[in-house]
Structures are given as C-alpha cells and as structure tokens.
Symmetry: C2
C-alpha cells in the first residue's frame, strides 16, 4: 500500500485543502503561488478553483484578480453555526455566567489540536477578552482545550505532543507551540496537568495563551458522559487572581453542568 491515505474522492479533498489555505494572514492568493503552496499542479488548482467559484465558495477580487473566499462560505458557516445545538443551549447560561462574574464567557469545541470558538458573550468591562466566533486556538494553551484534551486522554485518545501516542502515531508527535513564557510545552508536564484536570473536572490557563490573560474552563458532557464541548470565562490576570479562581471555577463548573443537563446529558460527576 504505497500512498492511499484515504479512500474517497481525491479532487474533493484537494479542493477543500485549497479553501483551507485562506487564513487571517492571507485573505487572498494568486493562482501560481497557491498551487505551489498546496503542492498541486497549477492546472489542477485552477480547475478546482473555477469549480469552487461556480458554486460561490471562492470569489475573485475584481481589482487584483486574486482568489478569496466567497459568499457561499459565509452562508454555510453561519448555517453550520446555527445548526449546532450546543450554541443555542449554552447561550442563556453563558449570559447568566457573564452577569454573575463580570467576565467574558465562551463555548468551544475541540477540532484537531485546536479549540474552535462557537459562541461568546462579552463581559461588561472595557478591558475584556474579545472572543471571536470561528477563531481557533491551540488546545494545550487554553482552559477549554485542557478540559477537552483531558477527556480525550481519559478515554484513551491521543493528545497532541503526548508521550502515549500509539504505535505509528507519528502525526501526533508535533511540537507544542509556546505562545507565552508560561505555555506548557513539555509533553510530560502537559500529561500530568491533564491528569489533574480530569480529576477535578475543570482547568485553568494562567497566562499560557496570552500574557495577562487568565481563563477557567469546564466540560459539557453528552448523555454518555463524553465531553463534547467546554465553556470558560476569561479576563485580565489583574481581575482573575489566584485567590478568586476556586470560586470562579465552581461557577463555571456548575454552569457547564447545567448546560449538559439541558442537552439531555448527565451530570458532570464522574
């Protein structure tokens, strides 16, 4: 079996790969460079792009003639977001949490080694975290990510950078990015941290994602007790002091539990 990474349609995966090349750093691509970057023949890239264009998934900047994401991507994304039951179930609880704590709250899911922000409720403070829906952060540096990774780990799943990746799991061995001086990048340390998180049921991220930013997260569980999402509150380190963390953790934990029950999930107590 030389190279057959996936059964299925190659051209479709290639097309999606093209879409994924767009990022906040790079809204727009020229054909040649884009093709080069994804490792496709220019002709192939061109054909795939025109196909995507005909469906509105990409569009061309009339000025620069560059390729960018199209309106249909927006439509689909918004729809995907709305069809996520988690968001609607969590919204009122998040709002309540913000009222209680005065900090910004959000709900996130694990996708790959990142957490994806599904929804956010801004706190009243001016110095607050701005949680942009749809953005992603490295899981190992966030409270929500730790909570979800801890659940993965407990379920025998693979954890990024983890030392216990099964045989042949080379894809997973990639480096844990250091985002601040306090980001946990040592796989063993992360493993121990996750073990602790799994035990107590909530996680913190103290200036591990961004200097000066602190967050506390807890898991939302489905009817089988699997952690399907996590919520957190976050704000400046000046307000989320070590002394206040336990109290906040309790609130976040309880809110997560309430959302779980809304979804027909069981209590977070293991």
């Amino acid at each position: 079996m030389p190279t057959k990474p996936y059964a299925g349609t190659q051209s479709v995966r290639r097309a999606i790969a093209l879409l994924k090349m767009f990022s906040d750093e790079r809204h727009e691509w020229g054909l040649s460079e884009l093709a080069r970057e994804v490792g496709l023949n220019k002709t192939t890239a061109y054909r795939l792009l025109t196909a995507l264009q005909s469906e509105g998934m990409v569009a061309r900047n009339p000025l620069t003639e560059g390729w960018r994401l199209g309106p249909e991507a927006i439509t689909l994304g918004a729809l995907a977001l709305r069809s996520n039951d988690l968001v609607s179930a969590a919204r009122p609880e998040l709002e309540a949490l913000v009222r209680e704590t005065g900090e910004t709250a959000s709900i996130e899911v694990l996708v790959g080694n990142d957490v994806l922000i599904l929804d956010g409720v801004e706190g009243p403070s001016l110095v607050g975290a701005s949680s942009e829906v749809g953005t992603r952060w490295p899981a190992h540096a966030t409270s929500t990510g730790k909570v979800l990774l801890a659940a993965e780990r407990a379920g025998g799943g693979k954890v990024p950078g983890g030392p216990n990746g099964g045989p042949g799991r080379s894809k997973n061995r990639r480096q844990l990015r250091k985002l601040t001086p306090r980001t946990i990048t040592d796989p063993d340390r992360l493993d121990r941290e996750l073990e602790r998180v799994a035990e107590r049921g909530w996680a913190t991220a103290v200036e591990e994602l961004e200097t000066g930013y602190v967050a506390v997260g807890a898991p939302i569980r489905d009817h089988e007790g699997r952690a399907v999402a996590a919520i957190s509150i976050g704000g400046p380190a000046a307000r989320l002091t070590a002394g206040r963390i336990p109290e906040l953790a309790k609130l976040v934990f309880r809110t997560a539990d309430r959302i779980s029950r809304r979804l027909g999930g069981r209590s977070a107590r293991r």
Copy 2:
C-alpha cells in the same frame, strides 16, 4: 452542446452541492435521502461525504448517525466574513447610524437572487429587527436587494423575473416569491420600481419582506462606481412611518456614501 454546463471538476461541484443541501429547516440528512434529493448515486454521495468528512466540512451526529455540517465549515465561514473588507469598513459607520436613528442597521451583498447579510448592528429598541449574519433573503423584497438589483439592471445585467432577460436566459425567469401581500411579484412592476430606485439612489421595502417591517437602503460603491454592497436600516412600520422615510433615507444614503469613500470608492452621485 449537449450538457456541459461548466468546465471544471464535476466531483467538486457535486460535493459543494451536497453541502448546500443543509439548511435551517434541515440540519441533518441520512445518506439515502440526501443522495436522492441531490440526484446523485448513493455510492457517489457516500464517497463525497466521507471525503468532506475527512476534511471536517461535514460531521456525523454520533447519536443518529446522520450527516451534518462540520466544524471546518464554521471556521471557513467566520474567516470568509472577517476577510471581507466591507464589514470592517462599514462597522463603525453602521454603529453611528444606529445611534442616530435608533433602528437596526445592516450591510448586505447580492449573491444570486438573494441578499446575504454580512453584518448587523442591533438598535436599542426592544421591538427591533434581528439581523442574523449569514442569512439570506430574496433580493426583490428587500431595500438592499432593490438597490443592488437596480445597479445590475442599469449595468445591463439580468434581474430575477425580469422581462429583459437576454435570449436563452431561461434560468432567470423564475417566479418572484410573494412573501407578504405587498411583495412585488410582477416583473414589470419590479422593473419600474428598480428604475426609480436607480434614479434616486436609495430604496425602500415597506412590508414587502415581512408584514410590519420597513427598511430603507442605499448602495456602497467601489472605485469604479459599481454597487458592491448595500446598507439599510429597518424596524417596525409603526416607527418607520412614511413621513419619516425621506429623512431616514438621507441618513442611510450619506452613511453609504461615507463607507464608499472609506473603501476608496467614489461618491454615490452618478
């Protein structure tokens, strides 16, 4: 030329067609029904779906085993939205407009025969319009849509239901949907309305989209004077009375003009 609607990759277009089957009415599909609905062989649909799944564009509901949109769709959509320069340019102006008028404002683009909401700023009133980003409305029943269609028309473009569709333009001849008793559904009447809109530079939609809802819209133009988007304010008919329309139109028009200039566009004066 028998059937060769587009050059390009068939499987990619089919895959996107699958994605587009998801809607607010239908978050989730079973394989067979979905395949039947898009007119694909079940095997083909299955393969395309697994390919999309491997890229995270669709995901499966672990409970029902049904197919739904995946997290990657959310990521892409949010990114597409952020990479739209219009949104960031318009935001502060829309906020100012809301402060001035007390009504809800939004910015929209034309995609096909619909307008797509790119961004919205809610008014302070409780009885307000809720403008959900990413949703679409039939262009002919909205103020923004009329503004954009009027520009199409002026530029010799095709207009939905329009009598002046070029020869062989059958796709375009489809019926104008009647959403309220006041929706314009007669192509000739719409044509006259668009002519008027093009002349004066702004449009209204008085209980044409939804009974009790009134909106006023004006176009945003790029450096070549092409209308690339439109903004509007909208609210309950009780507040947006006929007497108040001209004054509101002036405000909306000026705001649109200001956004155009922010984008390096020229003044809306033809």
